[in-house]
């Protein structure tokens, strides 16, 4: 039955690839889960070196990607899911390439990114050896009104860790997470001087009053590099993109790798692996489309919106902002100080006018409001390269997905 389920699901996946190139799909997973309901859990719990779960409001994708790179650099084969595959079906779909027809995992360790709510539901069936928690953002007004609800979900996940629990010492909720008796707790955090430099602190994260001393520490952050202190040793690492949040994700990944690998952790290997890492999927990523270089910046909540803006060069010459149907409560756009953007060439997406209204009140001049995203993208890419800097697109998740499909980006 297992082999049949896997073959059927792979056939569905092939069909989807032919019919809808560039789009992701959870349909193959649905098929597999229906035909062999226990397969998913059986496989996830069967990785020889264990199961790592990464969860929290934001930074999951980046941390997961960085941790996978670190473990691979140390010789482990890693199964990891991508940012869209956070739920049961998406996960099963992703696993289909990674398992034998007998339903056994090929890789030695699994590093899975899990959405807070779905993760809390599924984790009772799972046996994670390591849990890594990023943060609890207090601004998820569309989905989670009360950060304490998120904290409770993360607690459920935290308590399942059997060997290691890795916590963000700067986040009041995460820092206080309970652990099971067998799990060893370790922490990561930033230095005082790092917070002092940030115009909006650590964003919508409830910050702990004192800074971490014992753990992986972000000592300093420059435009494209950061200095981490790992077991007392300073290690300089290139960042995949601008922003203190990337340095914090790095610290989380390093702290997790340190906990998992123990004495096998090699700072030099870590430094090389991380510095070589390409930016994850749409967050501060540079791509070439029709011969033109474009920087893509994904914003998922007021905090990431603010932090990303704070790290962009001011007054970008060619900027497109696209906000789509994932933004249901438009108030989510308004706590963000967008004034440093200066001017925007085009505002697009299904919520273009909502975004343009916010920009108007912040004194940002807008060239055109074009709700038709594909047309806006075509016109934008056709513009000659800017004299200064790079064409930049800031988009919400829905607009990002449509953009990636339109330009056939992986």
């Amino acid at each position: 039955m297992t082999a049949l389920a896997i073959l059927a699901a792979r056939a569905v996946r092939l069909a989807i690839r032919v019919l809808r190139p560039g789009g992701g799909s959870a349909a193959p997973g649905l098929v597999a889960n229906r035909l062999a309901p226990t397969l998913l859990v059986d496989v996830i719990n069967s990785f020889p070196e264990g199961l790592v779960i990464v969860s929290g409001s934001s930074g999951k994708s980046t941390t997961t990607s960085m941790l996978s790179a670190l473990l691979r650099a140390h010789g482990l084969s890693v199964f990891t899911n991508h940012s869209t595959a956070n739920i049961r079906q998406g996960l099963m779909s992703a696993l289909l390439s990674e398992i034998t027809l007998a339903g056994r995992a090929r890789a030695s360790i699994a590093v899975l990114e899990m959405d807070e709510a779905h993760g809390a539901k599924i984790v009772a069936e799972l046996a994670p050896t390591t849990v890594v928690l990023t943060n609890v953002m207090t601004d998820q007004i569309d989905r989670f009104a009360d950060p304490r609800d998120v904290a409770q979900m993360l607690e459920v996940i935290a308590l399942r860790a059997t060997r290691q629990l890795v916590l963000n010492a700067d986040d009041v909720f995460v820092n206080a997470m309970p652990s099971s008796p067998e799990a060893v707790v370790s922490r990561y955090g930033v230095a005082e001087s790092v917070i002092a430099e940030l115009p909006h602190g650590l964003g919508n994260l409830r910050t702990t009053p004192t800074r971490l001393v014992d753990g992986v520490i972000v000592e300093s952050v420059l435009d494209y590099s950061t200095r981490l202190r790992i077991r007392g040793v300073a290690v300089d690492v290139d960042l995949p993109a601008r922003g203190v949040h990337y340095a914090i994700d790095l610290a989380a990944a390093v702290a997790a790798a340190l906990a998992i690998l123990g004495d096998y952790f090699d700072p030099t290997l870590a430094q090389q692996a991380l510095s070589a890492l390409a930016p994850v999927f749409g967050r501060g990523e540079r791509v070439t489309v029709q011969g033109k270089l474009v920087e893509l910046v994904l914003v998922q909540n007021p905090t990431s919106f603010q932090l990303n803006i704070d790290h962009l060069p001011p007054s970008i010459e060619q900027l497109l902002v696209a906000v789509g149907s994932d933004v249901r409560d438009p108030s989510y756009l308004w706590p963000v100080d967008t004034s440093s953007l200066g001017s925007v060439v085009t505002v697009s997406g299904s919520q273009a006018e909502e975004m343009a209204l916010q920009l108007a009140y912040r004194g940002v001049s807008v060239g055109a409001v074009e709700p038709d995203l594909l047309r806006a993208l075509d016109d934008f890419i056709a513009l000659p390269d800017p004299a200064d800097g790079v064409k930049t697109i800031i988009f919400s998740a829905d607009s990002m997905r449509r953009t990636r499909r339109h330009w056939r980006l992986t």
């Binding site: 009104a145 409560d329 006018e353 909502e354 209204l357």
Partner: protein
Amino acid sequence: MELLTTRIVLGSGEVIDGLGMLPGEVLPRDERVSGDVVVESRFGTLVGFENHARRYALPVDAQALGTVLQGDGNGTPERTEGVIAGSVLGSRIRGPLLAKNPALADHLLETMTKGAYRATGANATSADRLASIVRSQTLKRIASA
């Protein structure tokens, strides 16, 4: 706004004293309310978004901001939204309330400055034009639902 009322009753039964600047009390709801809200008021039709999990019970003699045409508002059988208490205006309409409802914003500006200031100029005009598009998109969305 809820903290300005006389009291807030939480789901646990715990009661928080409000500042008492607005009449009435805030009571728990079973479910969160979130979606478009349209209210008919003396400042015209107010359009916005509501996102909360409480009912606002106004005393009989209190004046509401308006009547709910779409959405939940105060969540009481009277189908009212918000409150007007003397010179204080309370509402749980967001989106934001004033940017989406320039007529209300203008009224507040005029009242506060005793007519000395009006929003004019290209910035105000283009912002209000965007607000107008958003309002009609919202109303169209509601009509076709």
